[in-house]
C-alpha cells in the first residue's frame, strides 16, 4: 500500500496523495471555495527538458533580493530549481491570498511577514526541516507541507484560522503545538514517525484525521474530537483500541494492516453508534476462521461496510444465530468444567476426611471431625442437577430433601416435588459433550453422589442421604450397581434395608475404602434380597487381609445366591468348603443357643419363623429344646446363619437406665438369695427338730387313744360341733 502512496510526479499540477480518501478532496474543495477564485498558477514543472530550460531566462537563476529579505536559499540539488524572482513577485502581487512554493528545494520557510492575508500556502516537496515565520500568517486556511523533512510540529500554534494542515511524508515524531488550531478541519500526518496519539484534544472541529503509516501502537487520547468523522490508522502497529466510543460522529474507521490479534481488542468499537464503515483487513485477527462472523455478531446495526464489503441482512442474521450457539456451547462447557472441578474437589475432600477419621479412630475427640462433616452436608447440599439443563434451582425452591425427585434428563421444567422423572437416558444427554451421561445427584464440598447409567456412585458419608430421597420408579429400576467409597461401613449398614426396597434390580455392590474390618460386618449384607456380585477392595478394607473372608461371605450370604466375589466365580466347591468351615459353627449356634438368646439375636422375620417352629413343635409333640438339637437342620439354614448378625444398632444406649436396672436386679437377686437361704435354714432346723416332734406327736395321740371309749365320744362331739 505504501508504494501506491508514493506518487510519481505527474504532469498535472495539483498533487494529492492517494492515501487521502476521495472525500478529502471534497473537503479541500470546500476549503478552497473559501478562497477567492483565481487563476491557479501552475507551479513550474520539475521535469522540463534541458532544451526548455535553456529557453528560459538563465538569468532567472540568479537570485535577486526579494522585497522583504527573502531567505530562501538556492542549493545545488538534484532537482532543478527554477525560481524566478520576477515570477515570485508576480505571485505575490497578483494573488496575495495563495502562494505556491512547492518543489523549490527550500530548506527553510521563507519569511512571509508581509503576507498577512495569505489563505493558502503550498510548500510541499521541499526540504524544510523546521517551521518558522508563521506567526504573522493569521489568516492562513491551508498549509501544505507534505513531502518535506520536518522533525516536529513546533511553530504552528499561531495559525488560528487554519483549516487544513497537510504534514504527510515528513519525519515528525510527536504531535504537538496544535492547541491553537481550534478551527482545524483536516489534519493529515500520514507517513511520519509518530508513536503516540496525543495533544489533539482541543481540535473539536476536526473532521478528518489521517495517521496512517506511523508507528502508533495504541488508539487512545481521542477525547475532545467531537466532530471527527473519519479516522485513518492504517499501517501502524496498533494492538489495542480504546477511546473510540467517545467519538460521537465517527463514521469511518480504518484499521487495516495493524497488529490487532483478537476480536476482544475491538470491544470498544461495538459501542460506537455512528460507525458505518470499518476496515480491519491485514491484521492477525483476520486469520481466524469466522472472523467476519464474529465481528458481525458484535457490531452495531449501523455498520454497513466491513472491509469494503457491504453487510447484508442475511449475514447479520446468521452471525447472531451462530453467536448464540457459541455462547451456549461455551456456557455449557464452562458449567461442565466447573462441575468436574467441584466433583474432583469433593472426592478429594471425602478422601481426606476419610484419612482423618481413620487416624483419629482411637481418640475420643472425634466429635470435631464429625461436626465438620455434617455442616458441610446440610447447607451446602444442592438438590439434583442435570446436565444439559442450564437451570439452577431457585432459592425459594424448598430445600427439604424428601419431596425433591431426581429428574433424569429434564427439559426446562424446574424440579418440582412429585414429578415423574423421564427415562434414565435422555437422548439429549448423550449427544452432549463427551462422557456426560453421568448425572450428578448431589454435590457438596465433601461428598459426591452421581448416577452413571446403571451405576450409582457414592463418595463420602454425606452421599448416603441421596438414598433417602424419593426416587422415580424407572430411575431406581435402572440401578444395578452401587459403589461406596470413603464411607464408613457402619454408617452404610442402616441403609441396606432401604436399598433392598428401593432398587429391585440391584445385582452388584462395590465397597472401596469402607474400613470393613470384621467378618461379622459382612453378615449385614444378608438384609438384601439378592445380590449376584460382591466386590470389596483391599485398599481401605482391612478385612481382606484375612483369608477367611471369602469363605465366610459365601457361607453367611448363601441365600443371596452370590455368583461372583471380587471377580472370581463362586463354585460349588467353594460352597462346600464354606459349609465345612463354618457349618459346625452354625449348627452349634443354632442348637445350643438358649432360646431367649435366639430371639434376641434374630431379626424379625426369622424370629417369627423360629417362634412358630418352637411353639408348633412343642405343642405337637411336646418336644423340648434338647430334641430340637437333632432336628436342627429343619429349622432352616437361615436361622443358623441368621444368628450371625452385625448389630446395626449402636450399643451405647442409655447407660443410666442400665445401671438402674442392674441395681434393681441385684436387689431382686439378693432377695431371692435371702429367701432361699432362710428356707434352707428353716429346713435344717426342721430336720433337727423333726424326730422329737414326731415322737411327741405319736405320744400325744397314743395317750389320747388309751381310753378308747372316751376317745370315741370326744371325737363324735367334735364332729357335731364343727357342723
Amino acid at each position: 500500500m505504501r508504494s501506491s502512496k508514493q506518487r510519481k510526479c505527474s504532469s498535472s499540477g495539483r498533487f494529492l496523495p492517494s492515501a487521502v480518501h476521495s472525500s478529502y478532496k471534497q473537503h479541500l474543495a470546500a476549503v478552497s471555495s473559501l478562497l477567492p477564485d483565481r487563476l491557479s498558477r501552475r507551479p513550474l514543472d520539475l521535469r522540463l527538458s534541458n532544451d526548455l530550460k535553456n529557453t528560459f531566462n538563465v538569468d532567472a537563476l540568479k537570485t535577486q533580493p526579494c522585497t522583504s529579505g527573502e531567505t530562501g536559499s538556492l542549493r545545488d540539488s538534484s532537482v532543478p530549481n527554477f525560481l524566478s524572482a520576477t515570477s515570485f513577485r508576480d505571485d505575490i502581487s497578483s494573488c496575495p491570498e495563495r502562494l505556491d512554493l512547492d518543489r523549490r528545494g527550500l530548506t527553510d520557510l521563507p519569511d512571509l511577514q508581509s503576507l498577512r492575508e495569505l489563505h493558502q500556502l503550498n510548500l510541499q516537496h521541499n526540504l524544510i526541516t523546521h517551521l518558522q515565520h508563521l506567526q504573522s500568517l493569521r489568516s492562513l486556511l491551508l498549509l501544505d507541507l507534505h513531502g518535506n523533512r520536518l522533525i516536529d510540529m513546533c511553530g504552528l500554534s499561531s495559525l488560528r484560522c487554519l483549516r487544513v494542515l497537510l504534514l504527510g511524508n515528513n519525519r515528525i515524531q510527536r504531535i504537538s503545538d496544535v492547541d491553537g488550531l481550534t478551527k482545524l478541519d483536516v489534519l493529515d500526518l500520514h507517513n511520519n514517525q509518530i508513536c503516540q496519539i496525543e495533544n489533539i484534544s482541543c481540535l473539536s472541529r476536526l473532521r478528518l484525521l489521517n495517521l496512517s503509516g506511523n508507528r502508533i501502537t495504541r488508539v487512545e487520547n481521542l477525547q475532545g474530537l467531537n466532530s471527527l468523522t473519519e479516522l485513518n490508522l492504517r499501517h501502524n502497529s496498533i494492538t489495542s483500541v480504546t477511546d473510540v466510543e467517545h467519538l460521537p460522529r465517527l463514521q469511518r474507521l480504518f484499521l487495516s494492516a495493524n497488529n490487532i490479534s483478537s476480536v476482544d481488542a475491538l470491544a470498544c468499537l461495538w459501542d460506537c453508534g455512528s460507525l458505518s464503515e470499518l476496515s480491519l483487513d491485514g491484521n492477525p485477527v483476520c486469520v481466524e476462521s469466522c472472523f467476519r462472523q464474529s465481528v458481525l455478531r458484535c457490531c452495531s446495526p449501523h455498520l454497513q461496510l466491513l472491509d469494503m464489503k457491504r453487510i447484508t441482512e442475511e449475514e447479520r442474521r446468521t452471525a447472531s444465530v451462530s453467536a448464540r450457539k457459541e455462547d451456549e456451547k461455551k456456557k455449557e462447557s464452562h458449567k461442565q468444567a466447573a462441575h468436574k472441578e467441584r466433583r474432583r474437589l469433593a472426592i478429594q475432600n471425602a478422601a481426606q476426611q476419610w484419612e482423618g477419621l481413620k487416624a483419629n479412630l482411637e481418640l475420643p475427640a472425634q466429635n470435631d471431625t464429625k461436626e465438620e462433616v455434617s455442616p458441610d452436608n446440610s447447607p451446602a447440599h444442592s438438590p439434583a442437577q442435570t446436565n444439559g439443563n442450564a437451570q439452577e434451582t431457585s432459592p425459594d425452591e424448598p430445600r427439604r430433601l424428601s419431596p425433591l425427585t431426581v429428574s433424569a434428563g429434564g427439559s426446562d421444567t424446574r424440579l418440582r416435588s412429585n414429578s415423574r422423572p423421564n427415562s434414565p437416558r435422555d437422548p439429549r444427554l448423550q449427544d452432549g459433550s463427551s462422557g456426560s451421561s453421568v448425572q450428578s445427584l448431589s454435590l457438596s464440598e465433601s461428598h459426591v453422589a452421581e448416577l452413571d447409567g446403571d451405576t450409582l456412585r457414592l463418595f463420602g458419608p454425606g452421599a448416603l442421604e441421596t438414598l433417602e430421597r424419593c426416587w422415580g420408579v424407572q430411575t431406581a429400576a435402572s440401578v444395578s450397581t452401587i459403589i461406596f467409597r470413603f464411607i464408613h461401613y457402619d454408617s452404610i449398614i442402616p441403609s441396606f434395608l432401604r436399598i433392598r426396597l428401593k432398587f429391585p434390580n440391584l445385582t452388584h455392590l462395590v465397597f472401596m475404602e469402607c474400613s470393613i474390618s470384621q467378618l461379622l460386618q459382612l453378615a449385614a449384607l444378608a438384609q438384601l434380597r439378592r445380590l449376584e456380585q460382591l466386590t470389596v477392595h483391599p485398599e481401605g478394607n482391612p478385612l481382606l487381609r484375612l483369608t477367611l473372608w471369602r469363605t465366610f461371605s459365601i457361607y453367611r450370604l448363601q441365600q443371596l445366591n452370590l455368583h461372583k466375589i471380587n471377580g472370581t466365580e463362586v463354585t460349588v466347591n467353594d460352597v462346600i468348603a464354606s459349609e465345612r468351615m463354618f457349618g459346625a459353627l452354625g449348627h452349634v449356634a443354632a442348637t445350643e443357643t438358649p432360646r431367649f438368646r435366639l430371639l434376641l439375636l434374630l431379626e424379625e422375620s426369622r424370629k417369627r419363623q423360629l417362634q412358630f417352629l418352637m411353639d408348633g413343635r412343642g405343642r405337637r409333640s411336646g418336644q423340648s429344646p434338647e430334641d430340637l438339637k437333632e432336628n436342627g437342620r429343619p429349622m432352616g439354614d437361615g436361622v443358623c446363619r441368621g444368628l450371625f448378625n452385625y448389630p446395626s444398632r449402636l450399643t451405647d444406649s442409655a447407660e443410666d437406665s442400665a445401671s438402674d436396672r442392674s441395681v434393681s436386679v441385684q436387689q431382686y437377686l439378693q432377695g431371692l438369695i435371702q429367701s432361699a437361704s432362710s428356707r434352707c435354714v428353716k429346713a435344717d432346723a426342721l430336720q433337727k427338730i423333726w424326730p422329737l416332734l414326731f415322737s411327741e406327736i405319736i405320744r400325744d395321740s397314743v395317750l389320747d387313744m388309751r381310753d378308747t371309749h372316751t376317745y370315741r365320744h370326744n371325737s363324735l362331739q367334735r364332729l357335731t360341733h364343727t357342723h
Binding site: Q518, L519, L520, L543, R545, L546, T547, L548, I576, E579, R580, M581, F582, G583, A584, L585, H587, V588, A589, E592, T593, P594, R595, F596, R597, L601, P625, R633, L643, F644, P647
Partner: protein
C-alpha cells in the same frame, strides 16, 4: 428361669455375649473355650494354618468385642514370642489359648515374676542387711552372662509356689507345675507356658477340651458333610 440355668449348666450361656461377661467366672471361660472348640474344630481338620488376625476374627464371630491382645498373647506362646505373623495350626492355637484365657491373671503374675528374676531380683529371698550377702547376691546376678536364656527352674518353681499360696484366682495345679519345672535346668517364659499348654493333666483339670488326639473328632459334623 429354668432354661437359663440349664443353659448355664450346659455351657451355652456364653454364646454371643459380651467379653466382660465371658471373662467373669472360670465356668464362663471354660464354657467359652469349649464352644469355640466345638464350632471351629472343622477348621483344624483341613489342616489349615491361620494367622493370628484370622483367629481373632473367628473369636469375634462368637463374641463381638473379643480383644485382640489376648489373641496376640496366645500367638506369642505358640510361636515363642517370635514373628507373631506366622501361621498357627488349630490345635496349637487352642491349647495355648486355653492357658492364656483361663489362667489369664496367673500368666500375668508369672510374667512379672519372670521379669524380676531376669533382672536379678529374687522376690523370695530375704535380704539380710550384711554387706557380704548383698554383695554375694549382686555378684551372683552379674555372673550370669546375658546370653543365657531364661531363669533357673528351681528358683522359678519356688517363686510360683509362693505366688500360688496367696493367689486368689485360678491357677494350674502345683503338681503339674513341679513336674514341668523339675525336668529342666533353665526355663524361658514362653517355653514354660507352652509346656503348660501341652500338659495333659492341666487340660483335664480345666475340662474344656478333649485330649490332643481327640481334638478334631466330630462325628456329627462328619455325618452332615456326607449328606452334602
Amino acid at each position: 428361669m429354668q432354661l437359663r440355668f440349664t443353659s448355664v449348666k450346659n455351657g451355652n450361656h456364653v454364646l454371643f455375649r459380651e467379653f466382660s461377661y465371658i471373662k467373669a467366672t472360670p465356668h464362663n471361660r471354660e464354657s467359652f473355650i469349649h464352644i469355640f472348640w466345638k464350632c471351629f474344630r472343622q477348621i483344624g481338620k483341613n489342616g489349615d494354618l491361620l494367622a493370628m488376625s484370622e483367629y481373632s476374627s473367628l473369636l469375634q464371630l462368637l463374641c463381638p468385642d473379643f480383644p485382640a491382645e489376648m489373641v496376640q498373647n496366645t500367638a506369642r506362646i505358640v510361636l515363642i514370642d517370635d514373628a507373631t505373623d506366622c501361621l498357627m495350626s488349630f490345635s496349637d492355637f487352642i491349647y495355648s489359648f486355653q492357658i492364656q484365657f483361663f489362667y489369664e491373671e496367673f500368666v500375668e503374675s508369672i510374667s512379672a515374676i519372670y521379669q524380676d528374676l531376669l533382672s536379678g531380683k529374687n522376690p523370695n529371698t530375704v535380704i539380710v542387711p550384711t554387706s557380704t550377702s548383698v554383695e554375694q547376691l549382686s555378684s551372683s546376678a552379674n555372673d550370669k552372662p546375658d546370653v543365657q536364656e531364661g531363669v533357673d527352674a528351681t528358683i522359678f518353681c519356688e517363686c510360683i509356689e509362693g505366688l500360688c499360696e496367696r493367689f486368689k484366682h485360678k491357677y494350674p495345679s502345683t503338681v503339674a507345675i513341679k513336674e514341668i519345672l523339675d525336668n529342666t535346668q533353665r526355663v524361658s517364659f514362653y517355653g514354660f507356658l507352652m509346656a503348660l499348654a501341652k500338659h495333659e493333666g492341666i487340660n483335664q483339670d480345666i475340662g474344656a477340651l478333649p485330649n490332643k488326639p481327640d481334638l478334631l473328632i466330630d462325628p456329627e459334623m462328619d455325618q452332615e458333610l456326607e449328606r452334602l
